[in-house]
Structure formats: C-alpha cells, structure tokens
Symmetry: C2
Subunit: 417 residues, 2 copies
C-alpha cells in the first residue's frame, strides 16, 4: 500500500498508526541483519509515538505514517551520530526543522537511517537489499535501502553531491532532491552551504511529494498530478563518458520507450564542461570550514579520505573558490535556456547499476553538476540492468520548478512501471 | 592599542596573551554591572586558554587576541543559550566553525556576548555603554557594547536584518557584515537561510578584517590597504523616509565632508521599492520553518512578537515567498549596475542615534534591504548626533566585493576620525 493510501485510511481511522508501525517493525526485525539500514531504532519509542497519534486528533497530512530519518539530521529523542564515532551517543536538544514539521503533520519518527561519515564518501554498514555484496549507494544509504526493502514507506535523505539520487536509483526507489533551499537545514550537520540539500526517498513520486509537503509545510506539493505526454529534453551532460556501457544502453532504451509511449523527446545540449570540477572545488573549500571543530579536536577519528579533502580545501586560494561560485551562477542562468520549452530534462540517475563491493558508494558523475545547479532532481525506477540491479531515470528542472518536474516524473513513473 | 598592534606584539612575545586577557577581564569587572554585555564569562577559562597560548608556538594571525562570541554561535566549552530561556545552560558538543577557526588561528575565546532572543527582535539585558537608558541596538547587542566599552578588541555578530551594522553604528564601533556566505554558518542557530550572515564588530576596519581573515581562513583579508580618494555613490535608498531629522542631517554633512576631503561623490539611485517588504516576507517564511521544534515544544517560552511573526510565516502561501526570492534575485542582478563605476556605495548605518529605552533595539530600515542584497556592508563611526550618541556611515558593495568595500571604508574611517 502506498503512503498516500495509508494516510487516507489512517485519517479515516480504518487502520491505526500502531498497526502501520508494527508492520514496519516486523519487516525490520526480519531483514535488518542483512540490510543494516538503521543507525538507531527503538521499537517502543516508535510504538509510543504511534499510540499517542492514535489517541489524538488527526494532526496533518502525514498522520500515522512512519518516517526514517537520515542520521545527519538531529532528533531530540534519538541519538544523532552523523555517521562518525566522534558523535557516538550524541543527543541533540532539538529536532531538525523538517523532523519537527513532520511530527506536527502527524509522522511517526521510526528511527535513524545510516549515513556515510558526515554524509560524505566513507560508507556506513548498509548493504544493498537485493545483493548484500553491493553498495546501496550513499550517503543516504539507510533511507534508500530501508525504503527499497519495504521497511518504511519513506525517509529523509540529504544530497551534497549525489547522496539522494544515486542511492535511490541503485535501490530502485524514487528519490527527490528538491530545489536548493526547499527544506530548512536547521538541525542538519552541514558540510557545504552551497550544496547541501535535504530531500526524500520513497516508493512513488506521489509519496515523495507527500513527505515533502509535510517537511517543508508546502501545501502546493500535496496535489501533484501527472503531466500527459510531457516534452522531455534528453541531456547526456558533459559526464556521459562516465556511464557504464550497460547503464548507457539501458538509458537509451528507456528514452526510446518514453518516446514510443507518447513523450515528445528532444535533445538538450549541456555545455557546462567545468561544472563538475567547480562543484568539487566549492565542496572542498566549504567543507574545510564546516568541519573545523572536528578537524581540530578529532582528526584521528576522521577517515583519511576526508582529512585529505579537507586539507586541500583549506589550502585552496579564495580566488579559485570564488571563480567556481561565479561559474556555477553563470551556468544556473544558462540552465533556464536549457529547460525552456521542455517540461523536464531527462538524464540517468546514476552511471549504471549498483557496483559490487561495500568500500565505495559508487560514481557521482550523474549527480554532482545537477546538485550545484540547484534545481529539482527526481529519479524514478527504470527497469533493471544485466546484473538484475535497478536503474533510474532522472528528471531535472530549473530552481523553483519542483511542481512541474514532479508532475513529469509521475508520468515517466507511470509509463515505465 | 589596536588588535593588529597587539597581534604584532604578541607574535614577537613582547606581551603575553595572559596580560591582554587580564586587561580585558579587568575592564569587564569594572563595567559589566552597567553595560551587561556578557551572557557568559568565566575568567579562569579565559586565563587557561591564554596560558596555553603563551606556552606554545604562535598559532596564527589571531594569536593571543581575546574575542567575544555572540551567544547565537556554539562553543564547546561554554554555554550557548541563543538568548532564550529554552536553552538555558545548553552545552553544544562543538565550536561553531568560525570559533574553531579563530582558535586555530590563536584566539582566546573570552566569553559569550548577549544576543536578543534567537537573534531576532526581543532585546536582551545589554545597555548602551554611553547611556544605560538607551538600547545598544541588536541583535548583536553584547558584542557591540563590549567592543565600544573597550572590554575586548573585537567580537562576532550575526545579521539577518540589521543585527551587526545597526548596533555597531549606535555604539560607535566598526561593524562588518561580509558578503553572504563568507563565514560558514556551521554551529550557528539559524533563523533564515537566505539572510543569516556572520560578521564582526571591532574598533577599526583593519581589526575587523583581521578577525574576518581568521574566522573564514581568508588570507586575502589580511592586507586591506586604504583606497586613496575613492569614488563613492551616495545611496539614500527607498527607506530614506525612515531617517530621523538629526540622522539625515548628520549623514548629509558627513557626505559633504567626504567630498571636501577628496572623495569623488556621485548620487546613486536605488529603485528597489519592494525590497524591504520582500525581506520581511522571506524572513517570516523561513523563520517559521527554522524554529519549528521550539514553536512546537516551547511555545509559551517564546516572546509573543516572535510567535506572531512565526505564525504569519507559516500561513504565507509559497507563491508569495517565491515571488519575494525572485524579486530579491533580480535586485541583486541590478545592484551591479548601481555599484559599477564606484568603489563603494555610501548610506547611513542606522536611521539616527541609539533611541532612548530598552524595549526595542531600534529601527532596521537602513539595514534590511542591504542584507538581502548579499553584498558586504561596513559601518564606520561618523561623529555624534545632538544627544551625544554615535552615528555611523555605511559602505556597501556587490556580493564578493568585500576587499574593495573594506578598502573604501578604511579611507572613510581615516578621514572622518
């Protein structure tokens, strides 16, 4: 049952929040040993929230729906460890803004989902639900795996590089990185102020929009209808060379199907050759400052990869960073030319299937430049690759164009599944 | 002695960090009862930091210099209460990024300075150093009063509306709100992601630039030379009508003097009539989300003014907020036309002298629109009004133009004082 359907039945009191929560807890009990999606879960705490909701009035659009919260976001009643031993057992005094708003809208905060170290590169313990020898992607590893494995209907992710869209695509779920700034970052452990974006992972576009609505207090997300036969701009981007042969072939065939099924498909050139490098520079420069406290006091407990990146960011001259910001702003202005006349751009959600191995969360080449462009990115499942692993097609729009991008994604989702 | 001179003598070991710290502590002991600038100060903790610095190598450009930290920024070794009883005694696990970077550069974190409630409207306990019956301005009340009263050379402020420039102007100090994004907000209790900006209050432009350099790890701030006879665009802005007669007269006479002293002064029209209202809408919409946790769990301990504003922000349709953001972005593009051909814009730092009474922190009309434009704002003392209270002249530049704006401010500071 979709979260939207559950919400309707919960609002009519045909089922209870406790029943929904128990069914999540059962699935987690059965599968967590293999999937390892959760950084923290206390079944009794979840049940208490559900009982309280069942005993009171219907609070809002998320009433009674369990939500997984990526452990880079603060929770007042659960540890918030940010994927690092430095903050083992840390108990914030507050809920992150999106968590507080979701609770006000009636959500049951089921538990904390695994993040990579500070939502950067070094993986956590989560494994791909379909093949425990493969990465689920990251950094929103736990939310993607938990949603894919039907442990919970939806959960929060955050994306600084490709941390929502890539794991969502790898795991065969819907992922939404909304426009930059859509969800308040108050109560998020930040890495890069110019890139960090909170979003959601769900099993359908409609469900994702429902959680977005509750998390940003945005009623306009509550009724996203599917477009009919949208005009799509196929954008292979300057990073197309990073696609695996299987990923590229599957994307071309998905695009062909979209055309056959009624989309008007045009080619969209994206001449932003330096954008990927600019994102790397901005991230390094800003991360070097965001993690100043941890780098001073806990350096030995931070992964060597992050220390190295941080030191590079600290050594970077300001002019180089400023030039990268300027280039990004220019590309953002030119993005409107790229998206004008189409309902959405279409590009792969990842370079291919989830790779074998748990030492890396995969290649971010299809994500990083879009994150820096600040527009909405939505990945929807688009079949499987030769290894039987899911693939995703990514819809992208201009900043602020979330409603249209989600509406286009609903159509793509409907015709491809 | 200026912070820059102290730093040089400290680096040469001609004086010790402990001596500098003791002299601050003495002044605080003598004056704090009247001024009430500090939310927290532990003399022994300050002394311990100073002794440790004296015993080790010179760490960086801030070596041995005491810094006041506005209590909206986190400190790992001191309470961080954000101007609200909700967080009385709260001890964060980390230093805010700027505090951590300042420590790495050798700063002594002297204590926490008073902020208004969550750095918004409702005043704290601080009084104007020259007249305890007057507001020092806010929300960076404690930092402005402490610096003006020579309790410390410089300190941090934050500005969401006018919270650095206004108190700095009222207190007769230099205030710098750098370009949006200059100092990482990691570890700041945020109100509005589109507006919140960390900056500094000091007794000279050179000192302010020194603290900025250490707080943002920006070496390019270390050597800001004064411009010679800069070209200044006098900008009275759409809010000129809010100036007090004395404030307006004093500004006109300061502009006249700048011209006599060699500046090339031209008039700069600023046709951004809706910008002030746009800032108000953006603030209300974003604040409604940032404070979601507190509004749910501690509503009765939040001032009625803030609750009212928050509820208005929650009721605001997204389209209204989006239109305000769009308008601001457009004004930001047009700002470059306004600043092209001049070294800096010149406008008052506040609407007049610090008003009598402690129930309000004064009128923000000369600040709010500039904050939303995201460029650097620097106020320097420009004499006194009829009540003997300080006035400030504000220099403004385009986003990223901090170095030139600071250089113009050095010239204005030099000729006016």
């Amino acid at each position: 049952m979709s979260a939207r359907e559950l919400a309707q039945r919960l609002a009519r009191r045909e089922i209870t929040a406790l029943e929904v929560t128990e069914s999540c807890l059962e699935r987690i009990a059965a599968r967590e040993e293999v999937v390892r999606a959760w950084a923290f879960i206390d079944p009794d705490l979840a049940r208490r929230q559900a009982r309280e909701l069942d005993a009171g009035a219907v609070r809002g659009p998320l009433h009674g729906l369990p939500v997984g919260v990526k452990d880079i976001l603060d929770t007042a009643d659960m540890p918030s460890e940010y994927g690092t031993p430095i903050y083992a057992g840390h108990r914030p005094k507050w809920d992150a803004a999106c968590v507080a708003l979701a609770r006000s809208a009636g959500a049951v905060i089921l538990g904390k989902t695994v993040t990579t170290e500070f939502a950067t590169m070094t993986p956590g313990k989560t494994r791909h639900p379909r093949d425990p020898g493969r990465t689920p992607g990251g950094s929103s590893s736990g939310s993607a795996a938990a949603v894919a494995d039907r442990m919970v209907s939806f959960g929060y992710g955050t994306q600084t590089v490709g941390s929502i869209i890539r794991p969502a695509a790898y795991c065969g779920t819907v992922g939404v990185k909304p426009s930059f700034g859509t969800i308040s970052r108050s109560g998020m452990k930040m890495a890069s102020e110019s890139l960090d974006t909170i979003g959601v992972i769900a099993r359908s576009v409609e469900d994702a929009a429902l959680l977005l609505a509750g998390s940003a207090q945005r009623d306009d997300f509550l009724n996203i209808e599917s477009l009919e036969k949208p005009k799509l701009g196929v954008c292979r981007s300057p990073n197309w060379k990073h696609m695996t042969p299987e990923g590229a072939a599957a994307f071309e065939s998905a695009v062909k199907r979209l055309g056959q099924l009624g989309a008007r498909v045009i080619e969209a050139e994206m001449p932003f050759e330096e954008l990927d490098a600019a994102a790397g520079r901005i991230l390094a420069f800003e991360m070097a400052r965001s993690f100043a406290h941890e780098m001073t006091h806990h350096r030995s407990r931070i992964s060597p990869a992050l220390v190295e990146r941080r030191d590079a960011g600290l050594a970077m001259p300001y002019a180089e960073y400023a030039a990268a910001l300027e280039y990004a702003a220019d590309c953002r202005r030119r993005l409107s030319d790229l998206t004008r006349g189409v309902d959405s751009l279409v590009t792969p959600g990842a370079t291919g299937e989830a790779p074998v191995g748990l030492g890396s969360t995969g290649n971010t080449a299809m994500n990083r430049l879009w994150t820096l462009l600040h527009g909405p990115c939505v990945t929807v499942p688009a079949g499987e690759g030769p290894a039987g692993m899911p693939l995703g097609v990514q819809l992208v729009g201009p900043p602020g164009g979330d409603a249209r991008t989600l509406a286009a994604a609903r159509w793509v989702e409907r015709v491809l599944t």
